[in-house]
Amino acid sequence: MKNPVYTFEKLKFASFEFTCCEGCQLQLANREASLAEFFSLLDVRTFREISSEKHDDYDVAFVEGSISRSDEIERLLAIRRQAKTLVAFGTCACFGGVNSLKNRYPVEECIAEVYDGLPVESLPVRKISDIVKVDFSIPGCPVAKKEVEWIVVNLVTGSLATLPKYPVCVECKEQLNTCLFDLGEICLGPITRAGCDAVCTTGKTPCLGCRGPADDINFPAFLELVEKRGLSRRDLKEKLGFYNAFEAYPCP
């Protein structure tokens, strides 16, 4: 491809969406200044949201959204069969996302409430890795295009694609923010994986953990922190449950 020193191949790319707001796919069309370069790294085989082309010979599939219907499971299995690399794209795909909030109620109750009991199919929300093997995850609600660019470049050039292992606080301090705990709020920054440039805390709203837990977090110490500052347990639970990303860390 374009680099004169090394030879690279374009990624045979496809993008699919399941139960979600499609905000993550939309990010692919952002950062307009480098959009042409970005798409020249990709050989787009299927991308319904922006193109009418449909081909099934892709290698890398970005899968957005969570799974909440049986036809989605079928489609996902077919994608897994074709894709050499399946990327869980966005928080819904990686963790279930806000959609999982519905799981607190029985499905029938949801349907009764919204559809007057019309026979609408809906399953409890699941993340992609509950159903198929995921090769790489790009969390974020929505994903950060800058990070996506970097990961795509790395996939093309065969470099290491990794997410930061440390928590959001590092990036929050880089932005010189006043810590939200000091402002009297619970923030999930200390236990959430960085990579978003601490965009929420920079906007002075608490991190809700859309990028999931960082590596080797000290959850008991975090609970103690909330306790010691006299902050509300209910608020903590609401935040931990918001994206379903802290499933593995139940809050007593």
Binding site: E17, F18, T19, C20, C21, E22, G23, C24, Q25, L26, Q27, A29, N30, E32, A33, L35, A36, F39, V44, F47, R48, E49, I50, S51, S52, E53, K54, S68, R69, E72, G97, V98, N99, L101, K102, Y105, E109, C110, E113, V114, Y115, D116, L118, V120, S122, C141, P142, V199, C200, T202, G203, K204, T205, L208, D235, E238, K239, F242
Partner: protein, 424 residues
């Protein structure tokens, strides 16, 4: 001439979300022309139950990846009205500016990425980038500007971070506001390029008399709050949204349908224009005239043009708003509040039309009941009816299958449907 025709489009491309078009003609007779939304429901009205008011806008913004600011603001407005909170004026100005950013971004995305390929005869924007680079670049520059306005005002272009109940959690940075002002000045030319392109297009000739519903405040071109007005003369107060919508479920679609005075109604840029064209910025009025858009326009394909006219309005109005923000000291941006029980509706003009969030809170400020009615929901029935009329007209004109299919697709796209949003 007797003929058969069967069009079955599953998962229409270049729209947000999953929808199907089906047209069946047998022996020259139209048997079926339908628009069905097959998106998976997410049950947001259930999700928000029990959630604290301050968290709600962060949740509801996730209804839609394109118009997340509108959703956040509709919720915020509903909750503020329910709990009797008055946000400071600087916050109101910033919110309106944020809406402008979103609308510009959304319209640019629709016009250049989703609609323009139809007129230019390409499968998507990527080939268009090769055949008409100037045009696509103009679109990108406008979209980037929209995103930048949203980012400066809300912290991020999708899923805003600093729009909160009571005002703003953080004021926009003045240095960046100043940069925005320069950016707008420099990008007006892109708007010219766009107007030239869309002005020369052959917009399909098709009309069906429609009831258009939008916000109307009698003073400005409406974006946040106001009365509800229909071209058939119905006018209601914001909280009285139910008679405007009369939401009902159908069996072939997971999105609901609505109606007001007739069997269906339309919302969106064209509805806003038809009800409020007098309040447009003079430059936008000029553009409308040049592009041949006059109220009340009943051609749904002209929605594209109405969007472009709105872009002109937004660019000029944004300049005024930014100047206003630069002239205030931006310290009073958030009204503290105590949770309260209450009920209210927040209506905003999302890019695709009027959006209602109706919220009921308890004494702790937790949501006990919510109702969200999305613009695309309000348009579904109209799209459905338009499709039938269009198919009939096309048959009469002797169009072939391929032509009918393309027209049908273009018709649906012209509504810029936000399908995943309508099934929320």
């Amino acid at each position: 001439m007797k003929r058969d025709c069967s069009i079955d489009i599953r998962h229409l491309t270049r729209v947000e979300g999953h929808g199907n078009i089906r047209i069946t003609v047998s022996g020259g007779k139209l048997l079926e022309a339908s628009w069905a939304v097959v998106e998976t429901p997410r049950f947001f009205e259930v999700m928000v139950k029990g959630m604290s008011a301050e968290r709600v806008p962060f949740l509801t913004s996730r209804i839609c990846g394109i118009c997340s600011i509108s959703h956040a603001l509709a919720s915020i407005r509903a909750l503020e009205r329910a709990m009797l909170i008055a946000p400071p004026p600087a916050a109101e100005t910033t919110r309106l500016l944020a809406m402008h950013g979103e609308t510009l971004q959304s319209h640019a995305l629709h016009l250049f990425f989703l609609a323009a390929p139809d007129f230019a005869g390409t499968s998507g924007v990527l080939p268009l980038l090769e055949s008409q680079p100037e045009l696509v670049r103009a679109g990108l520059r406008l979209k980037e500007l929209g995103n930048e306005i949203s980012t400066v005002t809300t912290g991020r272009c999708t899923h805003p971070v600093s729009l909160v109940v009571g005002g703003l959690s953080k004021a926009p940075d003045k240095i960046r506001l100043q940069q925005l002002l320069d950016m707008i000045g420099e990008r007006k030319s892109a708007l010219g390029t766009a107007c030239n392109f869309f002005g020369t297009l052959d917009i399909p000739r098709f009309e069906r008399e429609t009831e258009f519903i939008s916000l109307h405040n009698g003073a400005t071109y409406p974006f946040i709050g106001g009365d509800l007005l229909s071209t058939d003369g119905v006018r209601k107060e914001e909280n009285d949204y139910l008679p405007m919508t009369n939401e009902y479920v159908t069996e072939f679609s997971t999105s609901k349908f609505t109606r007001c005075s007739r069997e269906s109604s339309a919302a969106g840029a064209l509805a806003r224009f038809n009800n409020n064209s007098g309040f447009l910025h003079p430059e936008a009025k000029k553009a409308a005239q040049k592009l041949g858009l006059r109220p009340i326009c009943h051609n749904p394909f002209m929605c594209n043009i109405a969007q472009l006219v709105e872009c002109v309005h937004i660019l000029h109005d944004a300049e005024t708003l930014i100047q206003k923000l630069l002239d205030t000291d931006l310290t009073d941006i958030r009204t503290p509040f105590a949770p309260k029980a209450g009920t209210a509706t927040g209506a905003v003009e999302a890019p695709r039309g009027i959006l209602y969030h109706h919220m009921e809170t308890d004494e702790e400020g937790k949501v006990v009941k919510a109702d969200c009615i999305i613009p695309t929901t309000q348009n579904n029935a109209n799209i459905h009816n338009d499709l039938q009329a269009l198919a009939r007209q096309a048959l009469e004109e002797g169009k072939n299958d391929r032509e009918i299919e393309k027209l049908a697709e273009m018709l649906v796209r012209s509504y810029d449907p936000c399908i995943s949003c309508s099934v929320h």
